[in-house]
């Protein structure tokens, strides 16, 4: 807590944490190239159909052409006409991910997975004079290479924010360490766009305010940042000082469950939309029934043909523990976006504010109305 009030350059007396961020290099694409020698050295994109799909991962060869993950397949092909599309095989990725996590587990219990291919490790307790965090990161990288024939990049530092920046710094197959006395200097020279959590739009806004680098950002007052960026301004203020107190938390609790679908053709009519919503509600409801976990908040996501995306959400007083309640709220939310301003490409339904029947509705049964 003291960290936030500390003046620049003041020497930190508390012992530093040792955080490693491990990130697999072009994970899905690398797995495909590993399993299919024909793909090696070629631009590969893992993703859905060429017509409507998006790139889930791109190999380094493809990235040279500007192909990025989350890019629509059409744009990707325009950038790289000889791009090879591969259907994703999530079972394989999950298996590899489990292998990697088993390796992490041999070094620490404090593992916070961010996705299948990325995790924070807190190894503070495991380091001593003979074994530094850097050595652990090196060992993890080697074990991953031996056991999966894949490469990972690792970043080592004293908080999550810097560890993640570090792993990104020497990709692929990199290992980079930001030591406590280097943190400030490292952040100073970054462009704001390189900050994790600062997207294109925020970066532009910062540029307009004359903030281009980490140093520029640090020279702003906290009040100024909060005035321009709201609550997240506080976060920017801290990270510009290389301060990030977020702990590495193992077993993160699931916060939301959702299902979404990109339609084979754009939807324009209300009945089509409502019909498109049904299987998504079914998916979410199937999760609720299987796990006994229900949501109080429903969010629907609508992505238009021009990729503009909106979400609408609503929170009920009690958890939605009948399908009809979930259905009612979902369809009601969908009608708030009608009439459609433009064709719809994708619909999504998700629930959050999750809770179980036993803790919130305490077994009270509801009428199926």
């Amino acid at each position: 807590m003291q960290l936030y009030t500390k003046a620049i350059g003041e020497v930190e007396t508390a012992p530093y944490r040792k955080i490693i961020h491990v990130d697999m290099d072009a994970f899905f694409a690398s797995v495909e190239q590993r399993d299919n020698p024909d793909l090696r050295g070629k631009p590969v994109a893992v993703g859905g159909s060429r017509e409507r799909g998006v790139v889930a991962a791109a190999s380094y060869e493809a990235r040279q052409y500007g192909v990025r993950s989350a890019m629509s397949s059409l744009v990707a092909i325009r950038k790289c006409p000889h791009l090879i599309f591969v259907k994703p095989r999530f079972e394989v990725y999950k298996a590899v991910s489990a292998q990697i996590r088993a390796i992490f587990a041999q070094y620490t219990d404090l593992i916070e997975p961010l996705s299948l291919d990325e995790a924070y490790l807190d190894v503070t307790e495991r380091t001593n004079a003979d074994l530094t965090a850097t050595q652990i990161a090196q060992a993890i990288k080697e074990r991953i290479r031996e056991e999966t024939q894949l490469t990972a990049s690792a970043g080592v530092s004293y908080n999550k924010f810097l560890a993640k920046l570090a792993s990104d710094y020497r990709k692929p197959d990199g290992l980079f360490v930001i030591k406590p006395h280097q943190g400030l200097a490292f952040v100073e020279q970054l462009t704001v766009g390189q900050f994790h959590g600062v997207g294109r739009v925020t970066a532009e806004k910062m540029n307009q305010l004359g903030i281009f680098t980490g140093l520029d950002l640090r020279q702003q007052t906290e009040a100024f940042l909060i005035r321009h960026f709201g609550k997240v301004g506080h976060h920017y203020y801290s990270i510009a000082r290389a301060i990030d107190d977020r702990p590495v938390t193992a077993n993160r609790v699931r916060k939301s469950v959702g299902s979404e679908n990109t339609f084979a053709h754009d939807l324009t009519e209300e009945p089509e939309l409502l019909a498109g919503l049904e299987p998504l509600i079914d998916d979410v409801w199937a999760y609720c029934e299987r796990t006994g976990v229900y949501g109080r908040t429903v969010t629907i996501k609508v992505k238009y043909a021009d990729f503009q995306q909106i979400t609408r959400s609503r929170t009920a007083l009690t958890i939605l523990n009948t399908r009809s309640a979930l259905h009612h709220v979902s369809t009601d939310l969908l009608t708030t976006v009608l009439p459609l301003p433009k064709p719809v490409r994708l619909l999504g339904v998700s629930i959050s504010n999750l809770d179980t029947v036993t803790t919130s509705a305490n077994g009270q049964l509801a009428l199926d109305l």
């Binding site: 609503r314 009920a316 007083l317 009690t318 309640a325 009612h328 709220v329 009601d332 029947v357 036993t358 305490n362 077994g363 009270q364 049964l365 509801a366 009428l367 199926d368 109305l369």
Partner: protein, 373 residues
């Protein structure tokens, strides 16, 4: 514009309609009462856009005109004044309002009456005459069971179904459901509508006993007139859930018991139930009912044994005592029956001795007991 009125008469009439005035209205003008003076009659209007109430008071005046006056300021003044004739002196150009009394002089600034929303008109599609007692009976028995969840707007009001031989009022919050039917009220129109909770609560507090009420309904609005007062509300434009299907028909296990005996026992046992779930357990055997509750957090527990008339299967069923006692308190019958089928199916509370012209059915969903076992 000037008029003289008795402070207590004005206060009583304003209090009757003041419930409409929202604490934080969408449009600031709605913090005011609209005063309209015409031929010695003062018509006062309060509105929250959804619900509007008006009342008429004879006053001493030869002027005509209108003004909007801050409701809270005026009511606070009248409440603190001893009974006396008070004089309102209103400048219709500046909307400055002066109240002259024996005690002194009070000045407050009114607002332009033009800004006050127009009163909705109810095209008299359908008019029904009834007594305030019948209407109060219907409101008292149903409005407490409406939902406060704005996600299901249909359930935030009372459903009224008018048919040839009866009028049915239905309210549900998803855990319980009340069906209140009156056979002395009917209409050949065969229509249905959802009346919002707030309007019914306002009626409940302003309806005098045993006066004739004229109810008028159109597609979008309902109007209730009694004495000098009228309430107009916008109806909830939603489809009410198919409630008939939720009422179980085959309930072979019937317990009959004195209503106050059961209610008093519930109130005692409830003290020992979990404070958030209010979960109690009913164990039924031949002619015997055991009510028990426990709060594991505090090691509290209680049970009582009551005599009853029961010849169904032995059964254990859980209920939320708060819901159940609320329903029992709203009934007036001496004996009630609780009709059950299974521990996970709805229970029906039905008065065993019926009032004339009245048919009440209360349904309550059980609580699954295994959650605390």
């Amino acid at each position: 514009m000037k008029f003289i009125v008795s402070s207590s008469v004005l206060l009583k009439n304003l209090q009757n309609i003041n419930g409409v005035v929202a604490t934080n209205p969408i449009v600031p003008i709605l913090e005011n009462f609209l005063f309209r003076l015409e031929d010695g009659t003062l018509t006062v209007t309060a509105s929250d856009l959804q619900t509007t109430m008006t009342t008429q008071i004879p006053v001493e005046s030869s002027d005509n005109g209108a003004i909007a006056i801050p409701a809270k300021l005026l009511l606070d003044t009248l409440r603190s004044l001893p009974e006396q004739p008070v004089t309102f002196n209103i400048d219709t150009d500046t909307f400055g309002t002066e109240i002259l009394t024996d005690n002194g002089r009070y000045k407050l600034s009114g607002e332009n009456p033009i800004d006050f929303p127009k009163l909705p008109t109810v095209n008299k599609n359908l008019a029904v005459e009834l007594t305030s007692d019948a209407l109060l009976g219907a409101i008292n028995n149903t409005v407490f069971a409406t939902s406060t969840d704005d996600l299901r707007p249909a359930m935030t009001g009372v459903y009224l179904q008018l048919s040839d031989d009866n009028a049915t009022f239905v309210a549900t919050d998803g855990h319980r459901l009340i069906r209140y039917r009156r056979t002395d009220l009917n209409s050949s129109a065969n229509t249905s509508m959802i009346i919002p909770r707030k309007a019914l609560q306002l009626l409940k507090s302003s309806l005098p006993e045993n006066v004739p009420v004229k109810a008028e309904f159109s597609q979008a609005n309902a109007s209730f007139s009694f004495g000098p007062t009228q309430l107009i509300c916008r109806l909830i434009d939603e489809r009410f859930p198919d409630y008939e299907n939720a009422i179980p028909t085959n309930n072979p296990n019937v317990m009959t018991i004195g209503r106050t005996d059961l209610l008093n026992s519930l109130k005692r046992i409830m003290i020992y139930a979990n404070r958030t779930t209010h979960q109690i357990r009913l164990s039924l055997k031949t002619n015997s009912l055991t009510i028990s509750a426990e709060d594991l957090d505090y090691s509290n527990e209680a049970n009582e044994k009551l005599l009853c008339d029961y010849d169904g299967d032995a059964m254990e069923i859980g209920f939320n005592a708060k819901l159940m006692s609320e329903m029992l308190s709203n009934l007036s019958a001496r004996m009630i029956s609780l009709e059950l089928s299974a521990p996970n199916r709805a229970g029906l509370l039905i008065p065993a001795d019926k009032e004339e012209n009245e048919d009440i059915l209360m349904l309550v969903m059980p609580v699954m007991l295994n959650t605390y076992a």
